[in-house]
């Protein structure tokens, strides 16, 4: 927890950038698959499900690493509202990374669809229920769009730190050495 380090650890940076690619792909696949009737539909769905499970596993690992190692401090001269926004956004990211795959999985269970990953049928998370399915489906869709919006703001903020403030915040998570 003692965040004396000026940068995130190499493991944390690797997880961040791998997940950035996975999650952005996931969001594009999600909105793409529900808007097509072409054979791509099945291909995209067949990527969406295992990728969701992969993101859930990575998110849990990442959360454990974050709790164990913490995060570098934000620059002292950063305005307080900006710091608050940064902290809150991190909570939102962890919540969404973990909740969205679970909502998707739960939604399929509530619809009584078999969830088959790599030839194995996963256990059903929830009972078959129309109301539950509707609740989870709406939440999955709404929060996924929120997630994309959050990523857009996060990206703009990261570039703002990198190109305008030049305060080391971007460097703390930069993929390079």
């Amino acid at each position: 927890m003692n965040a004396i380090n000026e940068r995130f650890s190499p493991l944390q940076r690797a997880l961040h950038w791998i997940m950035a690619i996975c999650i952005l792909s996931m969001l594009f696949i999600g909105v793409g698959m529900v808007s097509t009737v072409r054979p791509d539909y099945l291909t995209l769905v067949s990527i969406h499900k295992p990728l969701g499970i992969a993101i859930l596993v990575l998110a849990l690992i990442r959360l454990a690493v974050r709790i164990a190692r913490g995060a570098p401090p934000l620059p002292a001269n950063m305005p307080e509202p900006m710091k608050l926004a940064a902290h809150l956004s991190h909570y939102a990211f962890y919540a969404l990374m973990i909740a969205l795959p679970l909502l998707g999985y739960g939604m399929l269970s509530a619809a009584d669809y078999p969830v088959v990953i790599g030839g194995y049928r996963l256990p059903s998370l929830l009972p078959h229920s129309n109301s539950l399915h509707t609740l989870l489906w709406n939440a999955h869709r709404f929060l996924a769009l929120c997630f994309f919006a959050l990523i857009v703001v996060h990206l703009a903020a990261a570039l703002f730190h990198a190109l305008v403030r030049r305060d080391g915040v971007f460097h703390a998570m930069a993929p390079w050495k």
């Binding site: 808007s35 009737v37 619809a111 088959v116 129309n130 990206l155 570039l159 703002f160």
Partner: protein, 353 residues
């Protein structure tokens, strides 16, 4: 200590760059979601095109809205194992949940008016895998592509152009065969009298890894009783549900599942074209319908008979329909489950008669 004011550089170019990157990302997302391409054929559009003039009936399937549930078994004779390693083709008995239905978006449609009848199945295997299928009694599909199906719905609904169907038929000559079938095929007295066909092709893979493209049919054991137009009219609007309920109470009803294997060069991607009669067929087992359950609160009501829910040993072929059907069925399912309150969950007086 770095001080922003020490940098004389204007932040404007950087801000413009950031705005441009954000704009490109958002535009790419909107494009992928179809928000910038109103002409894209989406599952929601296909489902919307099926709605009757008064709008879709809330709480019901958007097509094949009228139906009745059943439970039973699939008795596999083991012959199917030569063409597919799916667990349900090993000898044994597997539980089935199914639904007889009519191809209409109106759950109150008259049985005497619905030309196409359907059979949907879910077979659950001991390893947890499932096979779902939704078939109809037509011997081939009216059109060759999902886009043509959408165009057909629009032509049928087009009231402003009296020649809309003629124009459609000119652009899609394959529909003539379906029209001939619909006009000449006998109407039968029972769901149990119908042969139900997959129409779409799928690829079966056996334990040796050999792939074969197939279609399948459920062929009734009952001897079909055909109705004259007058007899059909006299039967009334809801005779099929009452008939199948009574018939199954008397004795379980059976269908043979017959798998037809394509020859090289057969039109596997086009369900509007039947394959020649002499193709190799394998009778793989028997569907036994043991109990009929009214749809309100019946076991089939909240199931999506998505034809792409396939066990290992079966997969989709180059036929474009199963993907389009899966996408559209999902939209139909999402809509009707969200309208759960609108569905009459206890049988109405009319349905009990």
């Amino acid at each position: 200590m770095p001080d922003k004011s020490a940098s004389p550089r204007s932040p404007l170019p950087a801000l413009i760059l950031i705005a441009a990157i954000v704009a490109v990302l958002v535009a790419a997302f909107a494009y992928t979601a179809g928000w910038l391409t109103p002409n894209r054929l989406t599952p929601a559009k296909i489902v919307g095109s099926l709605a009757p003039p008064g709008g879709a009936v809330p709480g019901f399937r958007r097509n094949h809205a009228k139906g009745i549930c059943f439970s039973g078994d699939f008795e596999s004779n083991g012959s199917g194992a030569a063409i597919s390693k799916a667990r349900m083709f090993m000898p044994g008995t597997y539980p089935v949940t199914g639904r007889f239905n009519l191809a209409t978006p109106d759950p109150k449609a008259s049985d005497a008016m619905a030309r196409v009848r359907g059979l949907s199945l879910r077979i659950v295997m001991p390893d947890g895998s499932e096979w779902r299928s939704a078939m109809i009694d037509a011997p081939f599909f009216p059109v060759a592509t999902p886009q043509a199906f959408f165009d057909l719905q629009r032509a049928l609904a087009n009231k402003s152009d009296p020649e809309s169907m003629q124009k459609f038929a000119a652009a899609h000559p394959e529909i003539a065969a379906f029209g001939a079938w619909a006009g000449s095929a006998p109407w039968t007295a029972s769901y149990a009298d119908e042969r139900y066909n997959s129409l779409n092709s799928f690829v079966f893979t056996n334990a040796e890894g050999q792939d074969q493209t197939v279609r399948w049919s459920f062929v009734p054991a009952a001897k079909p009783e055909t109705l004259t137009p007058d007899e059909l009219k006299q039967k009334g609007a809801n005779f099929l549900d009452a008939e199948i309920t009574q018939r199954v109470q008397g004795a379980p009803q059976r269908w043979a599942m017959v798998v037809t294997v394509a020859n090289p060069g057969d039109p596997t991607a086009d369900p509007s074209k039947a394959w020649p009669e002499d193709r190799h067929t394998v009778e793989v087992g028997t569907l036994v319908v043991k109990a009929i359950e009214p749809e309100p609160d019946g076991p089939c009501r909240d199931l999506n008979f998505d034809p792409t829910v396939l066990p290992s040993g079966m997969r989709v072929s180059d036929d474009p329909f199963p993907a389009a059907r899966s996408a559209a069925y999902s939209v139909s399912f999402n809509r009707r489950t969200a309208e759960d309150k609108a569905y009459p969950h206890t049988p109405s007086q009319g349905a009990q008669q």
